[in-house]
Structures are given as structure tokens and as C-alpha cells.
Amino acid sequence: MTARGPLRVVGQSVRRVDAVEKVTGRARYASDLVRPGMLHARLLRSPYPHARLVRVDGTAARAAAGVQAVVTGADLGWCDPYFGPAFRDRPILAIDVARYEGEPVAAVVAEDDEAAAAALELIDAEYEERPAVTTLDEALAPGAPLVHTAKPLAGHFADLSSLRPRPGTNICHQFHFERGAVGEALAGAALVIDDTYTFPRVQHYSMEPHAAVAAWDEQGGLTVWASTQNPYSVRVELAGMFGIPLGRIRIVVPHLGGGFGGKTYAKLEPIVAVLARVTGRPVRLALTAEEAFRTVRRCDARVRVRLGLAGDGRLVAVECDADYDVGAYADIGPRVVQKGTYTATGPYRVPHVRLDARAVYTNTTPGGAFRGFGVPQLAWAVESLLDEAARRLDRDPVDLRRDNLLHHGEEFAPGDTPIDGKFEESLGRAAEAIRWTQAAAADRGRGVAMMMKASIGPSVSEAIVRLHADASVTVLASTVEMGQGARTVMAQIAAEVLAVPLERVMVAAPDTSITPYDQTTSSSRSTTMTGRAVQEAAEDVLGQLLRVASARLGVAVSALSVADARVSAGGEAVSYVDLLRERFGMGGGELIGRGVVAPGRSAAPLGGSTPFWEMAVGAAEVSVDEETGAVTVEDYVSVADVGRRINPRQCEAQDEGAVVQGLGHTLYEEMLYEGGQLLNANLAGYRVPRAADVPGRMTCRFVENADGPGPFGAKGAGEGSLIPVSPAVANALARLTGVRMRELPLTPERVWRALRARRRRADP
């Protein structure tokens, strides 16, 4: 390849390529789409957490004005009505049994949304209530009512072929990981601390609730315009359910109004496809916010951890038993559970480890992927306990962590990717930025926390780059723009490699009939994996172009350089436009490049090696109102090791958002159930952070050693910085007040009660 000069576009905080369409309101989301002849759907949902469907009769609803169809679970005999990425345990509409309050039991399709909503009231549904389990304790009790009784059907995820449900219980998957001899190590440890932490059920609250439009064509093909992070996973699900080839299914993804994991895997696509098939017309289903609360959530968890440390503060053993509540359907919960637990030991060197985790069904909204993918639940426990260990050993929490950090190049687990970052640099930068070594004001406390998260492995990304006759460029890749800025990053990478102006690069929206395979937009993988595919595809195009230039200029390819859409050698330069005309003998034709990133399976414990380790440190300074228990985060520092920032400002924006989202489950957010009923499925009862809740000082910094496997040394970003927030804040609170919180969110009431209990202990 030609000599590369300094980077021009990569590393610059260029404006987002989609900013203008978004500030002008022109950007289209799934719920903005209109198809000719489009009908509107609404769902009837179970009022009970667990019930047998005695009767779901749509006769009266079918007769209502404007109604085109009423569909129930009993009407789905013509397709395979079950779906799910881990187990195919979720029916399109409840069949015989409803397993959580809010589960769809019937659908109405009508000429307009109002008619569909009105007809829901006319469906005659009779339920026979069954005993429900809505907490981990209830679900795990001996003889507990079972959420699922049938033998589970395997889903499509290859590395979950080892799913281990425990028949006759509510345990749908178990994960075990062990190395060394943890029992002996704990017995010989100078300090063993053992405690249990809980993490709440929380809701993504993407500003855009899930939406999808489906239409079948005259050739029997299906198109779904969907708010999904995984068009290709959705395609696989639909192909199986409807028995049609992948090539006849087209999933088109417009802009997503936020995803955060809540739009991974099939959600509404199966039901809209059914309704479009039944009516023979395009059908739209756009959920309300209340319905989004009843679609997916983060898995709540109870985590018991035992840490064993030597007298000098070295970690010798970690034992962990984690129970995650995956709700009524597994979704991707089993994978969340095993992946979250796998990195329970965080960025630390621990010789003796035993990790056990269980994914547990309950009669609640299904638990799935949510930014951090199971790690926040574990890190909340482990990072809190590490501070307790420091206190008991009279060690500084930063020093204790530093002494235990894995080093660059060190093995985390046999067969998995060696550590690819310099963790001590991240920790040092965070400590410095929060002024760790200077005393805090008397009414302030400071705390730190760290985390390490694996990305997804193995995974595949493919990309196509087209250089057109006028030297403009189209990038075809299926990573989904959900706000994170992926389209801008892909455009920057292509513009950099091809030496064309950024505004000459167009990144197509994902469309499985046009843009090539990409496994998923999750796991902070897009910049690294899709980005590398785009980089390779652009280099492929450049290579073709340079061969044309070499012939034209009569010099070797290695002697050529590119800048401003021109190839030059010595004093002679020729424009891409001229070279393309020469190549095709006319003013038409284009060069097409291909990029494929497919690391494949490995001997790593989860079946594939992580492409990179996502690494972040959080440091918080807090104050507390002793009268009310209200905690205020006054200052927050986030440091993430991202290898290289393709777009520095977008990285900053990702981490600012991650920290504030983390403050949500740390201080405010929790889905509350009573008797199996979700009480606060709306923004009046469910409090997400507002502008005024952002810490008065908030700093997001980055470690950039260009040591990642992505383009130009990049690694993933975006999830990591959310994870340390809860333990950093709780550690700060503990150092300020001596009160150790074990339950999130840190509501004023919980903190006030803990402060009162401490006062009573201190002053009996």
C-alpha cells in the first residue's frame, strides 16, 4: 500500500453526517414511515402476570368499523409462532398461557390507529389466573410455580448451543467457570469478605418506543422496516418462522431513536409480518412508551461475592454466585448472564476463581440486553466489595486496585484475547482528574470503580465500498445508526482511506437486500468490527485505483501517493475521475471493494475471543443531605481506554451519555412490581435523569495508545463508562458517611434509613 501521511479525517471531531437531517426534523424513524394502503395495529395485553387463556374471542372486534383483522395465538397454525435468540420460547401472541402482565394476547388491525385501539375493547378475553412468581426468591423456592413447562426449543445463537436449563425449575440457563482451587485459596486468605448486592429492574427508555412496518410483495417476499439493532438476526428469525429463504426477506432500518440494547433481536417484527400477511396490506405497529416497558428491560440480579485477599492486598480468590432474573422469556438473557459473569473478576489478576450464575424465569417483562450486558450487575457487587476490602486492610482503594491490575499482554482466561490496554494509565488519569490525593472538603466524599467488559466473539462484519465515476463514495454496511454516530465514523474511515472529502461519502442505511451482513450493532463493536470491514473495503478500492494509476503514470504502485481525490507520483497528478474514465473507457462504471472481518471461534471459555477489552474507570465526588438522604454527585470523572478516537467529540458524547444513564439506575430508576403488576410503566412513575441531574462537573477522558484491533488502533466505546458509575458513587458515599449501600437505586429513603441505622449504632 502507498505511504500514508498524517491522518486527515480520522481523529477529527467532524460534524455528524446526520446532524442536519436530525435538527431539521427530516430524519425518518420507523414510526414516521407511511406505506401506500398501510393499516395500523394495536395489541391486547394480558392483565395478569400468569394466566391460562380460557377464551380470546375477536368476533365483535372483527365486526367493528374499520377493522381488517383480529388475530390471536390460536390463529398462528400456519407459521412457526415461536421466536427468541437463545430459546425459541416466546410466542408471537400468547398461546394458551400468558406469562407476564402486559404480554400480547391478541392483535387488531384497522384502517387507522384509533379504530384499532377502540376495537381492542371489543375482544372478549377470559383468563384463569395462575400462581405467579415475580421475584428471584419466589421463582427459586422449592415447588415454585413454573413459568415454562414445555421442553425448550433451541434458538439460533451458535454459542448458546450449550444452554443448560434445569428441567422442573425456573432456571433456564446456568453458567459455571472455574480456575485454580478457590476453596483452599479462601481458606488461606488473610481477609475474606462475603456480601450480597442487588441490582434493580430497569428500563432502557429509548426515546423512541419500538416500531415496525411490514409488507409482503407479489413474489412472496417480506419487507420489514424496523427499529432494530440487528437486522440480520431478525431476518434469520423471520425466515425460520415463515419458512422462506433469507434472500426473500428484506429488513430495512431507518434511524433509531435510541437502542441501548433494547432493540436487539426480534421484538415486533414477527407480529407485524403476521398481520401484514393476514390482511394482505402493509401494517404498522408503533408501541407506546408504556408498552416498551412491557417489551424488554435489564435483568435484575442478586449477586453474592466472596473476595479473598492476602495481607498485602493482593486478590487471591473470587467466588461469585449470581442470579439474574430474565423475566418471562429468555430473549438474550442467558447470554447476558454468562457474559456478565465471565468478567466478574474485572480488570484484576485473580488466580483462584469460581463463578456460578443462573438465569431465572419470572412472570415479569422479559429481561434482555442493556448497555453493559450483565456486567453492571456484577461490577456493582465486586467494586463495592473491593472498597470494603481496602477499608478493612486500611489500604487506599486506588492503590489496592492498582496493585491488582492485569498488565498489557497478560492472559485473562486461557484462549481468550490477552489484555490489550494499559489499565494503570486509565486509573491514574481518573485519580488525578478527581484530585484523589488531595483531601476532599469535609462534606464531600470520593470514590472510584473500574470495570472490564468483553465484546462479542466470534462475530462477522462485512462491508462494500463503491467509488463512483465522479469520485463520490457509497459505503454499504449494516451497522445501525442509533445515535452513537456509527454512520459518521464509517464515513470518516472511508474518507481517510480513499483520501476524498468527507462530504463526498454517503453511508447507506442498513437494508438486508443491499447492505452486506453484519452480526449486530451492540457490544460496542461497530467501530472496531464494521469499521475494519469498511477500512478493508476502502483499501480494496484504493488498490484497484492505484493499479490503474500505476499503468497510466508508468510508475510502481508503491511510488504513488493519494490526496484530495488525486493520485500523484513525482510532480505528476491525475484525478480519480480521470482514472475511472480511463479504467472504464467512458464516464461510467465504478470500483467496488469488499471487506470481511470474521475472526471465527476460538478456545476461549465463551467459544470466541473478544476482539478487544472495553475498559473504563469512574471516579465520583458526592455529597449527601443527612436530613433527606438525597445523594448529589458533585463531580464525576470517566476515563475510557478506546485505543484511538476516530471522532473525539462523539466518544465524549457517548461517555457523557453513558455516565448519565448510569446515574439513572444508581440514583433513580427501578421498575416496581406489586402482585405481578408493573406499577410505574411511564415517565411519571419512572424517573430518568434530567438535565439538572447531571453533575456540576463532569469530565470524560480517554486513553489512546492505538493498541486496539479496529481501524487505526481503535477499540470499542460507549458501554464501558456506564458500568463503574454505581460502585463509584456508592464508594464515595461510604467514604463520606461510613454507610455501605447494597441495593440500588440509592434513593433518598434507602440512604436516609441507612444513615439513621448508622447513627443508632454509633449512638445507642
Binding site: R15, D18, R26, G257, F260, G483, L683
Partner: protein, 159 residues
């Protein structure tokens, strides 16, 4: 079932005169999105908390998700589609672009209009003014930092 009563409305949207007959219970958000094709205002919380549906009625920010369409009779509605002058962005729009205050974009139209209302009321808002004004405008992506910076950047007092 009773036929809902309807009303004839005459009002302006983004400077254009509109005459329509709407049911008495119709919401402004549905009128804008479904009948006028102005999908910039977004539906999210449906309860006047999140601000994604914010539009200006006679310059005042309202939540179109809970605002009866009949109430705009004789009034002037401004949606995000009416802000730019051709391809020239409104200063608030330009500031959101320049400060990187946009991520998924779903809250952006409401945020931009809310900011416009604030700046009309207070041309040089303080940070506290901005935070106060954004109580009814939620964003799940940005952590608000760059939104606040963008709005302050539009004010005559630079941040």
C-alpha cells in the same frame, strides 16, 4: 357508538394557512404527524413529561401529545420543520450541529424548539435558566452536556 363532534379549524403552521375539520378529541400531535405529514414532532411518553413532541403555539412551548388540536384554532403553530430558512439553519439548529448536541435525534426537534422559546424569553440565559427550562425535555443519549452547551452558545452570553 356516538359520532364524535368535529370542529373546523383555521390556523397557521410554519407560516402556512391551514383549514381542517378535526374531531373534538383529536390531539395536536396526531394532527401534525398524520394529517399534515409533519413528523418532526415525536411521540414518546404520551404524558407531557419528555418533551419529544414539543411545538410552539404562538411562541409558547406546548406538549402536542396532550394538547387538543381544536385549541390551535386561530393561532400560529411552529414545528421544527418551520425553523430553517430553506437550507439555512436557525441559529439554535446550527448550534446543536456545531456542538455535537445531537445523537439519536429523537428528542432533538423538541429540544430545539424549547431552546428557541427560552431564548425568546431570555436572550442571555444562565446555565441555571437552561437547566430549569429543560425540566420538561428529556434526552436518553447525550447526558445533556452538549445540549446545554449548544443552548448557552446561542445566547448572547457565551459559555
Amino acid at each position: 357508538m356516538l359520532t364524535p363532534s368535529s370542529s373546523d379549524l383555521a390556523f397557521t403552521v410554519n407560516g402556512r394557512a391551514v383549514a381542517l375539520r378535526v374531531p373534538a378529541h383529536a390531539l395536536l400531535l396526531d394532527l401534525l404527524r398524520d394529517r399534515l405529514g409533519l413528523t418532526g414532532a415525536k411521540r414518546s411518553c404520551d404524558m407531557q413529561v419528555c418533551g419529544a413532541c414539543t411545538v410552539l403555539v404562538d411562541g409558547e412551548p406546548v406538549s402536542a401529545c396532550t394538547y387538543l388540536a381544536v385549541e390551535v384554532d386561530g393561532r400560529d403553530v411552529l414545528t421544527v420543520e418551520g425553523l430553517a430558512d430553506g437550507e439555512v439553519l436557525d441559529p439554535v439548529q446550527a448550534a446543536f450541529v456545531d456542538h455535537g448536541a445531537v445523537q439519536c435525534g429523537f428528542c432533538t426537534p423538541g429540544m430545539v424548539l424549547t431552546a428557541r422559546a427560552l431564548l425568546a424569553e431570555r436572550p442571555a440565559p444562565s446555565r441555571e435558566d437552561v437547566l430549569h427550562y429543560l425540566r420538561g425535555s428529556l434526552c436518553r443519549c447525550t447526558g445533556y452536556v452538549k445540549i446545554v452547551e449548544a443552548i448557552l452558545g446561542c445566547g448572547t452570553g457565551r459559555p
